[in-house]
Symmetry: C2
Subunit: 331 residues, 2 copies
């Protein structure tokens, strides 16, 4: 396949210089004289030479890859984050490798997280065990985070975001607001629940009824069924769900039982995935800056690989997006 591919020695021969000089033109052009550089560049053009990254990587002892560990690849929420990462990593000469932490058949995901496979790690799953990462690759945590690990984090303020959502519902006149939480033990779940409770308490309202969930559509549907199972006068008039996927499941279930949104119940999601602006009613939600989250995480990892060892937090702003699924109680 690559028999004819020119290598550095072919360029050197044609330009009448050593391979060292060609290499310098490639990786450090300013230390080569202008005339020599011109010669070499011309030879590169004539031969059609293209650098072999694998060889360079072996020599400089890096792999040229960055590994992203994602809790669920088939969740569209992550796709745009990954796109943001790739946009920063590619120009810096890194490939983005992606692994799904749930999909690994038995074998530990951490077998990938070693120096011969990747130069750095971006972890988007806060439920991985902290011990696994001790002294391994340069690391950045994005969106979720692992308590007890000192590494840069790129995230939103989940508590604040939840408060914004609930303040909106309170402002519409709702007095009983339920929350459908994310998976137990997940840092996002806890922060969003805490924000919900804090906003209600700040207005002297009772603590929220909390339904269990796991961010999935199906768990939102179950929460809808649980809400429907309540006696009508005990049903919270507004529900804030910790993910848009759950909000879709919830709305689907209650609509299926002839409950009208927002007349009978206001529904607020979290994430602003593309779909929810097309539903009937369109979903009010919290927009996360997904592309920016990915870019910043990648940028912080490049910093880290470059020797910057700060373990600081980058907090990106969210946006309250109001659509048709929320209204004053009673419609």
């Amino acid at each position: 396949m690559q028999h004819q591919r020119p290598k550095i020695v072919d360029v050197a021969r044609l330009a009448g210089v050593s391979t060292a000089t060609v290499s310098r033109v490639l990786s450090n052009p300013e230390i080569v004289s202008a005339e020599t550089r011109r010669l070499v560049e011309e030879a590169i053009r004539q031969t059609g030479y293209r650098l072999n990254q694998a060889a360079r990587n072996l020599r400089i002892r890096r792999t040229g890859g960055v590994l992203a560990l994602v809790p669920n690849l088939s969740n569209p929420f992550f796709s745009q984050i990954l796109a943001g990462m790739a946009a920063v990593l590619a120009p810096a000469g890194y490939n983005l490798l992606v692994a799904d932490t749930r999909a690994e058949g038995g074998r530990s995901i951490l077998t990938y997280a070693e120096p011969s496979r990747a130069d750095g790690l971006i972890v988007l799953d806060g439920t991985l065990p902290a011990e696994g990462f001790a002294g391994r690759l340069p690391l950045v945590l994005a969106c979720e985070w692992i308590p007890g690990i000192a590494a840069p984090r790129v995230k939103i303020d989940n508590r604040e975001a939840a408060m914004m959502a609930v303040e909106h519902l309170i402002g519409l006149g709702h007095r009983s607001v339920a929350h459908v939480a994310g998976p137990r033990g997940n840092v996002l779940s806890e922060a969003r629940l805490a924000g919900t409770e804090q906003a209600l308490a700040a207005h002297g309202l009772p603590a929220p009824m909390v339904f269990p969930g796991d961010f999935s559509l199906e768990s939102g549907r179950r929460a809808g069924a649980a809400w429907l199972a309540l006696p009508p006068h005990e049903r919270p008039t507004a529900v804030f769900l910790a993910s848009d996927a759950m909000a879709c499941g919830f709305i689907g279930e209650v609509q299926h039982h002839d409950v009208m949104v927002p007349r009978d119940v206001s529904v607020m999601g979290f994430d602003d995935i593309e779909l929810v602006s097309h539903m009937t009613p369109a979903l009010s939600t919290i927009r996360q800056p997904r592309e920016a989250l990915g870019r910043r995480a990648a940028q912080r990892l490049l910093d880290r690989i470059g020797g910057d060892d700060r373990a600081d937090d980058t907090i990106l702003p969210v946006e309250l997006v109001l659509r048709g699924s929320t209204a004053p109680p009673g419609g």
Copy 2:
């Protein structure tokens, strides 16, 4: 980071053999005597040695990577296909690299498709120019395909699948069936449109009204608006859309204008993405075997890399999934 990592020479020293022997134990154990092998394996265990893939790859002139070219990474339809690919590639020692053919800022996506970057290519975008692939990497086409390229294809029978969908609508009693097509020039769009026309013609029914689309939610919404704009008695009583995303957009738009599905219009999608089973009404659709598509495509690529040069088609079966969005005309 990797100063202390043992290498092959450390293992050889401890085991009292040459590096060649250690290498053989690693890649070709059966040609080493049982006793020597035991010694080496013990030394590997004691040193904690792990193979450096980059070095092996340089030596055997492969990269250890397979590149998947996807038209739209943020479409959940592709995520599960990628998961299927990774499940086959990882055990074979290949990393899966993923690139979005639309997201590349100017720079040609084909700069990735070269021997120093990947050992093989799986293309899921039928709109890439055929010339770009001449004499490049081992190639497999999945889902979509590029006319004029001879390579193994792994796909469904899109025309047959469309016929199944339309036969279902006809069976319910619909006599006027519209089609919302995929993007023009896309091979899938054409096959699904052809199947729609063929099924209607086979029953002596008039050709379908065809609305333009591009597989996106938003284009489905526009088709909904176009349908609404027709005088009520001219509206087709059933609509078959070439993607579930478009079906979501369509339903959202018509429901927004107080049209009831399926009472006023039956809607049929294509793909069976997870969400559509949770909508109200749940969507009738064609299920594509996404995971299997990914696995088979990866398997065929491994064959190709291994020297198999057949350019055959693998056709995977689809499934007609009937839910609440389709019913006899008038409800």
